[in-house]
């Protein structure tokens, strides 16, 4: 009468383990749909354009989203937490500009980078302070930080891009070099994604992020120090944005104060397309990376098909709407 029906008694792992093949790791409907969509686009494109399935094009496409992808990883974690970070674009520029300025003032580039990353982390510390201690909403706080960080960039550079062609070759090599034909940028991105995805699925701290995002009061009532979790996540996100800035600086040998404007919207779109929800508690790093990959594949396709760049935003917006509607309709029953 009162029986436990067919529960999983640890005999079958409720989630497939990390080291299975990429496809074995597709846990959510969303991830599966995205992979399928990317494959469909790729197949269609391989017929429409002889250049699409070339090593060169694949490498260019990967490289085009690898660095922004690092920002997407950070923002996805913030969104799982139930927050949002609009300041990532500005933070990225800030780390660039701070490192660049310090380098021009005579500091060795490697130290300059550390200060650039610290500047980015400080943005996260500040956001975390206002969100957890003062109690402002993340939207407002990061909107303000977006302006403040951007303003700092212009103040530091006096509005003109810093030319950094004198940077040592070893540093430039990070952005430009490759090993066995694979650019360092892609390697770094892959390492970050795989690590972050693994940690978000398995580590204790990441679990606390999901708990906090799913129901903050319930998390507090389970003994989770949600303020500390939130603070940590904002710092991680800003630091990731800072890291992306450093990589861009290495690739372009310059630090531009206006760099990365509008990146936050692309990153949020990618996270949402990948399954993150603005309400928190949901989303995966892997899904978000698939989200930005889809956007990049579409962009490349449009370029190869000679579609005017003016169409890009329109198409991105439509993909975002479709992805979210699909999920919503599916959840409704």
């Amino acid at each position: 009468m009162l029986r436990v029906r067919e529960t999983v008694f640890g005999c079958k792992d409720p989630e497939p383990s990390m080291l299975q093949l990429i496809l074995g790791r597709v846990r959510t409907f969303r991830e599966g749909t995205l992979i399928l969509t990317i494959l469909v686009v790729a197949v269609i494109m391989s017929f429409l354009s002889p250049h699409f399935l070339t090593v060169n094009n694949i490498r260019t496409t990967l490289l085009s989203f690898a660095t922004n992808g690092i920002v997407v990883v950070g923002i996805t974690i913030v969104m799982i937490l139930g927050g949002i970070d609009l300041s990532v674009g500005s933070t990225m520029a800030l780390s660039m500009v701070v490192s660049g300025r310090l380098f021009l003032m005579g500091m060795p580039i490697w130290f300059a980078i550390i200060f650039g990353l610290l500047a980015a982390a400080m943005v996260g510390v500040t956001i975390g302070f206002f969100v957890t201690r003062v109690g402002l909403s993340p939207f407002i706080t990061t909107l303000a930080m977006m302006g403040i960080a951007r303003g700092l960039c212009f103040v530091i550079t006096q509005g003109t891009p810093l030319s950094l062609f004198r940077m040592p070759a070893e540093f430039k090599n990070i952005g430009l070099g490759s090993v066995a034909g694979i650019p360092y940028g892609i390697i770094i991105f892959t390492i970050i994604v795989v690590t972050a995805d693994f940690l978000m699925r398995r580590s204790r701290v990441a679990r606390l992020v999901y708990y906090t995002g799913s129901n903050e009061t319930a998390a507090i009532y389970s003994g989770v120090n949600t303020k500390r979790v939130k603070h940590l996540v904002y710092i991680i996100c800003s630091t990731m944005a800072g890291l992306a800035g450093i990589l861009y600086m290495s690739r372009f040998s310059s630090a531009t104060p206006g760099f990365g404007a509008g990146l936050e919207l692309t990153a949020i779109s990618a996270a949402v397309i990948g399954g993150a929800s603005l309400n928190g508690g949901e989303g995966t790093v892997f899904g978000a990376v698939l989200g930005i990959a889809l956007l990049a594949v579409i962009t490349t396709s449009m370029i190869l098909l000679n579609v005017s760049v003016y169409w890009q935003d329109l198409i991105r917006g439509s993909i975002l709407l479709m992805a979210v509607s699909l999920d919503y309709i599916r959840h409704r029953h």
Partner: protein, 521 residues
């Protein structure tokens, strides 16, 4: 037949993907009748009401109002037929005033180009006065207590001239006084010839208020009975489909005078919310903490756990004073708190059973800095078994479980850390009779295994049936303690103490107010 039929549903069937929510259900409500609809959660009560209100469309079946077959396709149709619905979940616009909420339908239909605030306020005041409710019609709903919001919800339904009014567990959030007023109003409505469909879990309300009762189980109509010709046990047995002999498990007979209490709280106070709260709880004991809503019961337990600020007081665990600065300290000492609001403060609704149960035990489930998922699943399955949670799999999300099973998951989360002291705030609120008695049995077994339990409940029969001792609070102070073994543990004593009156049956003593005055003077 006495009286005409106001509303009749005939042969209603409704299937949702995977479940048959209603199976050929028929029901007739007479004019001026209060008709109770009871059944466990999942029995189909809410679905039936939603069909009557036009939120769901039935697969087949017919609805008749005043013996005329009608179509109800949406809530507007239902409104037009004079059917009003007081929802269980509060569905008010939090940032608008009471009057604007009450006249939302009026504003929607746009009778007036500009909103006639003065007129709405005056009419709202008139309706509120009927309720003797001290609510300002221009106050924002968000500033009202839950029970006052419930009153606004009821007034909102009354403001439309309805002939049939559906109440979905209206007293769940109300105090005794407010409940009395509500029943008085329902009596008045009844005498005006309005028919009332009354969904409830509380047996005493059926006998106090209702004329007939319809029992549903698993989507099927079991029986419609005249309340005057039946009794509580008969109804409960029909609801659960089996016999529940004893509503409550046997109590703990042990005397604790000589043993050291597991937890002793002394002179606990928090600003002007409560003061001078002292109580002890012994291993194996279930201590009740009761009083009217707003007496400060939840705040006391939360303050002990570090979830609410305290300004003074000492807490001793097993005789040793301990310092609790935050909830994490309490958890470390094995003191845990079960919230009264499981959905918004307790559960991770979109996460699965395993993750919910493991939420407080992660520290024990890690290898390195990773969560050991095998151990995590084992922990969950152990508790699913021992608390008899009915779920199709451990990775099912909490949203899809019934209220009773959700509550068991929440309880399992606390039990997973093997607590020494268990604080429970309304542990059986809003869950069905079957799950309720399972939880009661579970709690008694826990107590027998040596866990000390402190339980807040507004459900008087539950307090009397479950607790070995009861501390009654009145306006932030302890009004008295009643022991089951003294033979004074009855509803009358508890209500007297909870209302701040001296107890006629107990040795005469000063009321808390008098005592306080005496201490001051």
């Amino acid at each position: 037949m006495s009286g005409q039929t106001a509303l009749e549903v005939i042969g209603i069937t409704k299937t949702f993907p995977g479940t048959r929510a209603l199976d050929d259900v028929s029901l007739a409500v007479r004019k001026g009748e209060v008709h109770a609809v009871v059944g466990e959660n999942g029995a189909g009560k809410s679905t039936l009401m939603k069909i009557i209100d036009g939120i769901h469309l039935p697969d087949c079946g017919e609805i008749r109002v005043d013996e005329q077959p009608i179509m109800i396709r949406n809530p507007q149709d239902a409104q037009r037929q004079g059917i009003g619905f007081v929802h269980q979940e509060i569905a008010l616009c939090q940032h608008l005033s009471v009057a604007e909420n009450v006249f939302m339908a009026d504003i929607n239909t746009g009778k007036f180009p500009l909103i006639p605030f003065n007129r709405y306020r005056a009419e709202t005041r008139k309706l509120l006065d009927q309720f003797h409710a001290k609510i300002d019609p221009s106050a924002h709903v968000s500033t009202l207590s839950i029970s006052n919001q419930q009153i606004v919800e009821i007034i909102k339904a009354l403001s439309r001239q309805c002939r049939i009014l559906i109440f979905d567990e209206p007293t769940a959030a109300l105090t005794e006084d407010e409940t009395d007023v509500l029943f008085e109003i329902i009596g008045k409505l009844k005498s005006q010839g309005i028919s009332i469909l009354y969904i409830t879990h509380r047996m005493p309300e059926i006998f106090r208020l209702c004329d007939r009762v319809t029992i549903l189980r698993d989507g099927k109509l079991i029986e419609t009975l005249n309340v005057a010709e039946t009794n509580e046990v008969a109804i409960v047995n029909r609801m659960v489909g089996r016999h529940i002999e004893d509503l409550y498990p046997p109590k703990d007979a042990a005397e604790h005078e000589d043993t050291v209490p597991v937890l002793a709280v002394e002179n606990l106070g928090s600003f002007d919310r409560f003061r001078d709260i002292s109580f002890t709880v012994y291993p194996g004991e279930i201590l009740g903490l009761t009083g009217l809503v707003g007496a400060g019961r939840s705040e006391v337990l939360k303050a002990v756990c570090g979830l609410y600020p305290k300004t003074c007081g000492e807490i001793r665990l097993q005789g040793k004073p301990i310092e609790i600065r935050g909830y994490r300290d309490a958890i470390r000492h094995g003191i845990v708190y079960l919230t009264e609001d499981r959905k918004s403060e307790g559960l991770f609704l979109r996460m699965n059973v395993i993750r919910n149960i493991a939420a407080m035990s992660l520290a024990r489930l890690i290898s390195g800095f990773l969560v050991d998922r095998r151990q995590e699943a084992q922990l969950a399955s152990k508790h699913v078994e021992s608390t008899r949670i009915r779920c199709s799999s451990l990775v099912q999300s909490l949203e899809s479980l019934s209220g009773g099973n959700q509550q068991k998951v929440l309880l399992s989360k606390l039990l997973a850390i093997e607590p020494r002291v268990l604080f429970l705030d309304e542990p059986t609120r809003g869950i069905d009779v079957g799950a309720k008695s399972e939880i009661h049995l579970l709690l008694r077994n826990l107590a027998n295994s040596g866990v000390a339990i402190v339980m807040i409940s507004s459900d008087m029969p539950e307090v009397i049936g479950m607790c070995d001792r009861v501390v009654v609070m009145y306006e932030g102070t302890v009004a008295g303690t009643v022991r089951d073994s003294d033979g004074h543990l009855n509803e009358e004593t508890l209500i007297h103490l909870a209302s701040g009156l001296s107890v006629a049956t107990a040795p005469a003593g000063p009321t808390p107010v008098e005592r306080e005055e005496r201490e001051k003077g």
